[in-house]
Symmetry: D3
Subunit: 242 residues, 6 copies
């Protein structure tokens, strides 16, 4: 049987912690960790929407992802100093935004804007999936803040579901859940799966880093991912006290 370096079962998450309300400044926040990966997620609530959306009775949710320069084992140059945001950063920011919007009913949100910032303080694989999972907690709290302030209608249900994400991959031919950097860098196939609390897919992104994969392998990965997302959904509910 395959043993993982950290002794986990193939379908087991790393230790996950969610420190809800870590920030005293943001309307919603969570410091989430998937093992050594730590992401600070803050949700900023603003009454009103960007000009191009005004007057339609709908809200707006967007996200930005970034990594501190020394989150990783080798220091990388700041994107602010390079003067441009890299392709990877852009791509993950867009992914997080799409994932969150999939469970937001913008009509019910009303003309309010939520900006979710996911800043990776320490990186050890799975930063995008930890970001999505923590961002949901921050988002949920910021929406409740907006409700208390009267910006969101009392009986409105802006959140149609919860959302969580996890990585899966094939290493040495074996599908595994929640890859740390040491596994991720060796994976032949790497997949990120975003699912709702009710178990439907919102995003499936699989890439053959080495050998192409077939339908059977794809099915195994999807199953592992569904298990991981279900486990995260439980942890999110606990963090939110529901």
């Amino acid at each position: 049987m395959t043993t993982r370096a950290d002794g986990r079962a193939l379908d087991q998450l790393r230790p996950v912690t969610i420190e809800r309300g870590w920030s005293s400044q943001a309307e919603g926040s969570a410091l989430i960790s998937f093992g050594d990966t730590k992401v600070l997620c803050t949700a900023s609530f603003t009454n009103g929407v960007p000009r191009w959306l005004a007057g339609q009775g709908k809200g707006w949710v967007t996200a930005e992802y970034a990594m501190l320069p020394r989150a990783t084992n080798e220091r990388s140059q700041r994107e602010s100093i390079k003067g441009r945001v890299g392709g990877r950063t852009h791509e993950i920011s867009r992914l997080i935004g799409r994932a969150l919007r999939a469970v937001v009913d913008t009509k019910a949100l009303g003309e309010n804007t939520l900006v979710i910032d996911c800043d990776v303080l320490q990186a050890d694989g799975g930063t995008r999936t930890a970001s999505i999972t923590g961002a949901y907690v921050a988002l949920a709290d910021a929406i409740e803040w907006g409700r208390e302030k009267g910006f969101v209608a009392k009986k409105a249900q802006p959140l149609s579901d919860s959302i969580a994400a996890i990585s899966v991959g094939i290493i040495d031919g074996t599908p595994m859940l929640d890859l740390p950097y040491v596994e991720d860098s060796r994976a032949e196939t790497d997949m990120n799966i975003v699912m709702t609390g009710s178990g439907k897919f919102v995003e499936v992104q699989g890439t053959a880093e080495g050998a192409p994969f077939d339908k059977a392998e794809l099915d195994q990965l999807l199953e592992l991912g569904a298990k991981g997302c279900a486990d995260l959904t439980v942890l999110q509910r606990e963090a939110l006290g529901r």
Copy 2:
């Protein structure tokens, strides 16, 4: 039965044309069209590799994607004038590069660099999948150019397989192949599938734009995509005279 606006069957590609060798300047090139989507793909062959790769006996393949400002129905501002490359552009450039590298044996390529440019001259949905499909033809010709010049070893097989891509989506609950803009903008789920000529997956990117999707829908989409990629593989072979 569902009728599509352009009269196509649900599993039918739009008319595809591949003008191989369209450019008299590049080492390999193809002007590919998927219906009204037209992409000029050029492959630039350079003997030698970037400094960070030198001395390892391996080659390098990368890709850049861009759209002319009036490729679309409304003119968009040039990224050169904005002074930054947008997230979508970055994301697609990276996707094309990954797709091509999946069928390149960089050891067999030797210390040579291939840059594939995919410039969308006219856009009507499916620009990234047309880009990948056309890029493969340009790449194949540029590698043969390198062999003729003696930069690639006579018996080397730098291409382990061919690569093609297609979009699929669910519109009004019905899965369909190769979406033009009018369908794409209405799709509840949108998926891009990249496959090798031998029928294995290299990249699967599915996104719920509207309602989340379930495993059964995902399976239907994968099947349609496999059919489309197989059809494109035949057209690529014909274009390359094989």
Copy 3:
């Protein structure tokens, strides 16, 4: 007698083709070729003018020029990736804009904006003169589109004349018309001439790349250029079916 590499007479244009309406998206378009130089010109018509011009009853015409990275024999880096538009690009964009505005009566155009994009798909000398010549065709069609839509008054004459441009130069002491790259790179003097259909000058830009030139040489170049522009004027009329 001097023989040119491609067998042309000294005052003879390269083969010129104008594919009017090449783009199905733009309000006016032309794919123009001067020998191996190919430029896609699109004209985008927008009802209304930039804020700084509003309320004066006048329209606005501007142009942008760019080259695909592999239009030339060696690939050049994209200006979008460099993050800045180069001096040469700026200079030619401004030249094309000035040339077009010289034949547009902005009062007759009314408060409408035309943006002409000239994207060089393949470059072999004379890209700026081909751009101006093709841009006029795209512009003329876009204005007619605006008339049909009711944005331009029925009897208005926004175009006071046609406009065309050609390069001339002195190679080994001999003045010649319409230089491809191989001649242009050897020219002692290089001149671009922009003229109206009625034979007047709009722009004369002559530069001594090698030895300075005298008045007699200048006069010869101007005469050759006038001949070339007159020939192009005929081709423009044919393309526009007039």
Copy 4:
């Protein structure tokens, strides 16, 4: 007698905590808090120096400061997205670097580079002084790491002293130590003082935000600052276990 909003004495620091070794990736690190201000300081040790310094037998120490977008009460735009680093960020980065270099003997450090990143996770006044104070702890640990790895000579003393910094200011005519945002924004005069562990000045930056100040006021501020830096020096020693 003047009472401060948080009940502190005029010459009293806010609660200070220093979590040494917070990061598992960096060679030295500290999460420092001055009240609600929280800064993550990481020190990255690289053997070797930038090219312009090579071969002189001297090391290099530099620092970068930045704030997370939602560190403050209102979200600010990321500098990576603006495409440029703001004046305030630049100024503080330069200040931190100068402060650290004042206690580093670059000859004793040898040809090694230390980059200190100070990222403000939460801001409530005094972010630059907390950064300097925490950066010293991260720096000290990274130098010891370098010594253990053999990059720094066994008996070398790269640190000639410790360094700490604190803000002082005059509010309603009363000089006070360590201003949180609510005080800082009302201060007539605002001063940042950087001092060595042995009680000498490295940097004094005083600015009249309201009324200009006289020599007597300046002397009072300097005395308060000296007291605050001495208190921080004790805390730094404790954190470093000395």
Copy 5:
């Protein structure tokens, strides 16, 4: 006794000239020289304020500092070509703006904007202090221009005081006034002092470039600076014909 390279006493300014009204374009201007340092200061007066300040009955004063590429002994790259403004430029621009605002009563100024540009034509130490000193003269004239045009109320006193600045430093243990480059580059401690005409401090910025400094040294530097600012105040009054 210490002799300075240029024969000056320790508390003596370099020859200072102020050519008031040097520019025929700006509303106020001065070409100021401190020895070989020459700075062109222009003040641009605009009726109205930036949008974020509108309707509050207050004016706005800001400053920008820059150096010509060959102001210094070695040519430096233009910041316009680098595409970003350097940290030092930002820092000095902010300093000049703060210094000027310290003597402007923005209520008395009314809703008017003053932009002061300080462009260093030649640099030999003390460019920021010469800039502040010259900027005051340009500012004073521009305010009078605004009064003549009726934009500033007849009896309003927008200037509460005058402002001047000078550098001081410790070289080989000896405090000195107004350092040219040759002294500045050797200084152990370097301080810039900004004072009002009535002798109060607006800004004190002292930095230990070499050994840290103590309170006694700081006091000596402040005294020298006060003397220098008083001398400059006299010269400003003469230049303004008061």
Copy 6:
């Protein structure tokens, strides 16, 4: 007879002054004025050439043009702050560089680099022609500096001729020499002429701002320009003491 606003004859230059050696920092310099237009030209001499030119025994001459923000009647934003160099700036920089290179024998110059900076301190039309005319004086002195230092061979003749430039234009149908802003802004045709001291053309740039122009008008403008350049050549010789 046409009278000009400033009383000049149609073929008369504005008062021209050339302060040679204005800068104490640059190897060559001139502060040139054409009426109220004032340009500071500095020439920076560096032994050695850019890497791409090394080893060919040839030198390099390049130029950069810029305007101070308040050189003009209305303040314009700094290009360093915009983060990009405008089209006009680029175009004029390139023009100055080409003009100077036309009289430099780069073989005779040897492997040395000259960067000419032309910074417009005050603008009243003709800034590019004043720049070229002043730049030649700065260049000539910098080359002599290089000869004295032994970087340029004793008997080498790097300057094959002198170079000067002037603007001409047609206002109300009348051709005139050396247009100040008030004339330039009304000109129907605007032309810049760059000529060698021996009376040959290096650059001719004519643009119809209003009505297109014919050959007869062009000839008149060229004659006026030749007269103006000849007058400037005399002034350059006087400034250089020849």
